[in-house]
């Protein structure tokens, strides 16, 4: 019987790479994203490679949307074995005195609240199953901070703390919860903001001399969803070429 994975933010960038990687392992992937077209494209790419996937439109900040998507996956497949919360982004880059309350909330809700809402729905399902893997996405900025990214850094640090607590709650049920923290990664969104000079400066700071590729992150998700990590929970795996070593 194939495992079922629900990947939020699964349409583009790291989420797309994770969706493709999990599907290549024979896992059935539910690609949940607010970008319907890209989610459909990702599913088509998966199917063209012999995999099995379907797309779901979701606003991760809306509890009703999240409940609907999870219910739809359960109705089709009866279970969720893997939840990968990847939906997120830094969105606003502003000094704190220029940030509005709504801008703060937007970033924190998309990154942290969305992770909470999906984990809440999946947790009760995985508890009934007595098995499951949850992998949430933080960022190196959740550990180091970043100027002009106070809400993003707070949200990503929050994901680390949240995931540790959830790991403790779900451990007695055999469910593992871990975090992947990417460094600068060549996703379309990030690359749209790089200038050649900025990119070069960044690469010079990274011991391995290059920015990350979405597939580097996909491999980390694969590891944390596999038997190889059967005794890891509450941990944050930093995938950043050595840029940050907490």
């Amino acid at each position: 019987m194939n495992d079922i994975a629900l990947v939020t933010g699964g349409a583009n960038g790291i989420g797309r790479a994770v969706s493709l990687k999990l599907a290549s392992m024979g896992i059935i992937v539910a690609v949940a994203d607010w970008d319907e077209k890209s989610a459909d494209d990702t599913c088509a790419a998966i199917r063209s490679r012999g995999g099995n996937a379907e797309s779901f439109r979701v606003d991760v900040t809306r509890a009703a949307d999240v409940r609907e998507v999870v219910a739809a996956v359960i109705q089709r497949h009866g279970r969720i074995d893997i939840l990968a919360n990847i939906a997120g982004g830094s969105i606003h880059r502003k000094r704190i005195e220029e940030l509005s309350w709504s801008e703060w909330k937007e970033v924190v809700d998309i990154n942290l609240k969305g992770t909470f809402l999906f984990c809440r729905e999946a947790a009760s399902i995985m508890i009934r199953q007595k098995r499951g893997r949850i992998v949430n996405t933080a960022s190196n900025y959740g550990v180091t901070g970043s100027a002009l990214r106070t809400p993003y850094s707070a949200a990503k640090a929050g994901i680390i703390g949240f995931s540790k607590s959830l790991a403790l709650e779900l451990a007695p049920h055999g469910i593992l919860v871990n975090v992947v923290a990417p460094g600068p990664t060549d996703t379309p969104r990030v690359m749209a903001n790089w200038t050649p000079e900025l990119r070069k400066k960044r690469e010079e700071e990274i011991p391995l001399g290059r920015t990350g590729r979405p597939d580097d992150l996909a491999e980390a998700f694969r590891f944390l969803c596999s038997d190889e990590s059967a005794w890891m929970t509450g941990q944050t795996l930093h995938v950043n070429g050595g840029l940050v070593m907490p």
């Binding site: 451990a171 391995l208 190889e228 005794w231 795996l237």
Partner: protein, 248 residues
């Protein structure tokens, strides 16, 4: 087989975690050098590795001695002409409170646990640099994060491994070599069993969120991941494999 034809050196490879890791690497196709003071046990691991279909060599080694590590490097490079993976697992954990600790006990623990990492990396890194490729994986400990009564020297050495690995990762990054540490929690091996009763051991082993008695084999998955191409972008990290006992 992810590691076919790779050459791996495993210090402390004769028993416990080192043995499990050596055999795990062999099952993925790596040829293994088992470096340990316990020559007979090392030879037994070599036989098991050969039965798995790889080439293997045992070298009696005291990782705290320059001449012994030099001999290990010579024998390895004469036999295999390169090293792709270095697993630093050799370590000791005698018990003493700081106020009563003899200087020679401090020196011994630091020289074996941490000094051994330095000597072995120094010996094998040139081979990795020459091919701009390689993996260094050091077995630290959760005690690096938490400390331990009667284990200040051990905690210092294991925390030192983490700092050493971070610096090494920065030095070797430009050559495409990654260096990482794995921090296990207490595992059912001879080392922690040495100073505990059976009941104490069982209680201690079960005291984790997953309620699992960790075995040496439980670390193999993380080692194989870090040794493989899949982890090419992970370096300078301390990966905690501990059933959730410590969450950094």
């Amino acid at each position: 087989m992810r590691l076919r034809e790779k050459i791996a050196v495993v210090t402390g490879g004769a028993q416990g975690i080192g043995r499990a890791v050596a055999l795990g690497l062999a099952r993925e196709g790596a040829n293994i050098v088992v470096a340990d003071l316990q020559a007979d046990k090392a030879k037994a691991v070599v036989e098991e590795a050969r039965a798995a279909g790889v080439e293997s060599l045992a070298v009696e080694t005291d990782v705290s001695r320059e001449d012994s590590v030099k001999n290990l490097a010579e024998q390895t490079l004469n036999r295999f002409d390169r090293v792709d993976i270095l697993i630093n697992d050799a370590g000791i954990f005698p018990q003493a409170r700081v106020a009563e600790m003899a200087e020679e006990d401090w020196d011994r623990v630091l020289d074996v646990n941490l000094g051994g990492n330095f000597l072995c990396c120094r010996a094998f890194v040139p081979s990795m640099r020459a091919r701009k490729s390689g993996r260094v994986i050091s077995i630290a400990s959760g005690i690096a994060h938490t400390g331990a009564v009667s284990g200040a020297h051990y905690a210092a050495s294991k925390a030192g491994i983490i700092g050493f690995i971070k610096a090494l990762a920065r030095e070797l990054g430009p050559d495409g070599i990654t260096a990482n540490a794995i921090c296990p929690s207490i595992i059912d091996t001879a080392l922690p069993r040495g100073h505990r009763s059976a009941e104490e051991m069982k209680e201690r082993l079960l005291r984790n969120p997953l309620g699992h008695v960790m075995q040496p084999e439980d670390l193999v998955g993380a080692v194989l991941f870090l040794a493989s191409d899949a982890a090419a972008y992970i370096t300078g990290q301390a990966v905690n494999v501990n059933c959730g006992t410590v969450m950094i």
